[in-house]
């Protein structure tokens, strides 16, 4: 029985604490200091003026908008194995496969849609892909559009998205 017991002192019983005003004074000093510093140099406030200033701290592991990768000869890396759409928890990937005639593999997607309004950006599709064909390393965090259809990305749009961190082509298919 040699446990160390820390006795935490209880505050609030002294006259000064019960008076309440010294504590308000201390708090007021803190808030006023922040106000004064920020008023005297408003551009030093550590915020982004968002639409004009874009964030610069997006890391490689940030899950942004999806893209489909290429092989070294610029053909699509995807082999239409349906692993991503099977792994997808929100069922937002729609693939239609077709025969492949450029001599790489047997299959390729004829169409490849991602409904980004359904997508929860969990990254399971990236994990599931055996060909490193779908990635979320575009660094794009805002997608805008005027109708629901604008948010359903097709194969061409996904292929056109560029990786933001150097790696362009698929690492699993060449």
């Amino acid at each position: 029985m040699n446990k160390k017991i820390t006795v935490i002192p209880r505050y609030g019983d002294s006259f000064k604490d019960k008076l309440y005003l010294p504590a308000i004074y201390d708090g007021f000093k803190v808030t006023f200091k922040h106000l004064f510093e920020n008023v005297s140099d408003i551009n030093a406030v550590d915020t982004l003026e968002y639409p004009e200033e874009q964030p610069t701290d997006i890391t490689e592991r940030y899950r942004g908008l999806h893209r489909l990768t290429h092989r070294s000869d610029d053909s699509i890396a995807c082999v239409a194995c349906f692993m991503c759409s099977t792994a997808c928890p929100s069922n937002c990937i729609f693939i239609e496969a077709t025969e492949r005639e450029d001599g790489h593999d047997e299959k390729m997607p004829k169409s490849f849609f991602i409904d980004t309004l359904e997508c929860v950006f969990c990254g399971y599709c990236v994990e599931a892909c055996p060909c490193d064909a779908i990635r979320m390393d575009t660094g794009i965090f805002s997608l805008t559009g005027n109708s629901r259809e604008d948010f359903v990305l097709n194969k061409e749009q996904l292929l056109a998205n560029k990786g933001a961190f150097g790696e362009e082509n698929s690492c699993a298919r060449d």
Binding site: T31, F32, H34, L35, D41, I42, N43, V45, E49, E52
Partner: protein, 430 residues
């Protein structure tokens, strides 16, 4: 009734209405901006008219337009007392507005033997008016909450009722101590009393003469205005919007604006009763009138300095960071405002110069002093409003039984004790 008296009455009424109504958008904006700056954010700073942002004040006017254009929704479950349900916000609003009207903005003018009060309501029992009218304001809250037939609203109204019984007595008793000290119920006479000194060097402001009563007055006025730390009638986390849960659009806006006018009124009462009103310390109105040329000279030096500092601050802060590509017309705004400010300064300098050397009119001098006092009053009013706002972002809220506890166990005995001592001292001195 001479022409001068009618003119002064109309001007002071317009001034009172403007000071009460035009400060609402400014206060709403100040609240949001100061909240942001205290929390290291920026707050609303983008809304503009032709590139003129004025720091973002325009946002409040956009908000008012939004609230005016919103659908006027009337909850169908309220069968009885429809008119009172609609009237309750108006009551809170107009009562707060009326209470402000008894505040003097400058010292009384003496023209041709007539005493002209620079007060929206030229009455000499301002304190009684304020206490009587100010106490009605909470009735609007209680009616609105009761007639909403809504649990949250009813709870909010109950809490508002419990607030009244906790702060009204200490408020009245602390003001009574001031009435005994100043020996008057006239706000203007109170300010005149405070323009003297005591102990030979301290300004005779209420906060120095009656520190205890001043504290009680400030605390109970915080409670009366329903502001933090005494926001018990509404509470996001427990009772949604409290008494105004069922009020929408302009009805809500009435409550909302009433709250800000009440804050403005409370600030005005505090500065009038304990911070010397429209006076600057050590300098009374007679002193300024007797040494008018010195006063004008000091003003001629001080005004450009203040304007210069303001322009310097604006040139530094009305900009965007170098990383932002467009400055959204802020440079242009700074340029125009600089020209306007410089023009006004030059105008003031010319007028003061003329008054100093060429005009020997006592009337012109006293009008200048009056304008100066109005400016001092507005500056003090805004400073105390900012104090109200910073306190809101500093102190956590009281539970409503804690407010009652505070009111009955601490503030009431303290104010009674203070009243007793004040009475003894006043009788002893006389």
């Amino acid at each position: 009734m001479s022409l001068a008296s009618i003119l002064i009455a109309v001007i002071s009424f317009i001034l009172g209405a403007l000071l009460a109504l035009l400060t609402i958008p400014v206060l709403v904006w100040l609240e949001r901006r100061i909240a942001s700056l205290v929390q290291d954010r920026l707050g609303p700073n983008r809304t503009n008219v032709f590139g003129f942002r004025l720091g973002g004040v325009v946002q409040s006017f956009a908000d008012v337009v939004k609230l005016l254009l919103k659908e006027e929704y009337y909850p169908s479950h309220i069968k009885m007392g429809r008119w009172l349900f609609m009237f309750a916000p108006v009551m809170t609003f107009s009562v707060a507005l009326l209470a402000f009207m008894a505040i003097p903005f400058a010292d009384s003018l003496y023209i041709d033997g007539e005493i002209l009060r620079v007060q929206a309501l030229p009455i000499d029992f301002g304190v009684l008016w304020y206490l009587a009218i100010g106490a009605i304001g909470v009735l609007g809250v209680i009616f609105g909450g009761w007639l909403s037939h809504n649990k949250y609203a009813l709870l909010g109204a109950t809490r508002a009722g419990s607030m009244v019984i906790s702060y009204e007595l200490p408020l009245g008793l602390s003001i009574l101590a001031f009435i005994i000290t100043y020996n008057t119920v006239d706000f203007n006479a109170m300010v005149q009393w405070q323009s003297g000194t005591f102990f030979a060097f301290l300004p005779a402001w209420g906060i120095l003469v009656q520190p205890l009563a001043s504290m009680i007055l400030i605390v109970s006025l915080f409670a009366e205005t329903n502001r933090n730390p005494f926001t018990v009638a509404e509470g996001e986390s427990e009772i949604v919007a409290g008494f105004m849960t069922e009020h929408t659009a302009m009805k809500f806006a009435m409550y909302f604006m009433g709250e800000y006018i009440a804050m403005n009124t409370a600030s005005a009462v505090i500065i009038t009763v304990i911070f010397g009103g429209y006076q600057i310390p050590w300098v009374s109105t007679e002193m300024m009138l007797q040494n008018f040329s010195t006063f004008a000279l000091v003003l001629m030096i001080v005004v450009p300095v203040i304007v210069g500092l303001l322009i310097k601050w604006m040139r530094k802060n009305n900009t965007v960071r170098p990383t932002v590509s467009t400055d959204s017309g802020r440079n242009f705004e700074t340029k125009v405002l600089t020209i306007v400010l410089l023009g006004m300064t030059v105008l003031i300098e010319i007028i003061l110069f003329y008054l100093m050397f060429f005009a020997e009119s006592a009337l012109a001098n006293s009008v200048t002093v009056m304008l100066f006092q109005i400016v001092v009053f507005v500056v003090k009013l805004m400073m105390f409003n900012i104090f109200f706002i910073i306190i809101r972002w500093t102190v956590p809220r009281f539970r409503y039984d804690q407010v009652q506890h505070l009111g009955w166990y601490y503030l009431l005995p303290l104010s009674l004790l203070n009243l007793f001592i004040t009475a003894l001292v006043v009788v002893g001195v006389n």
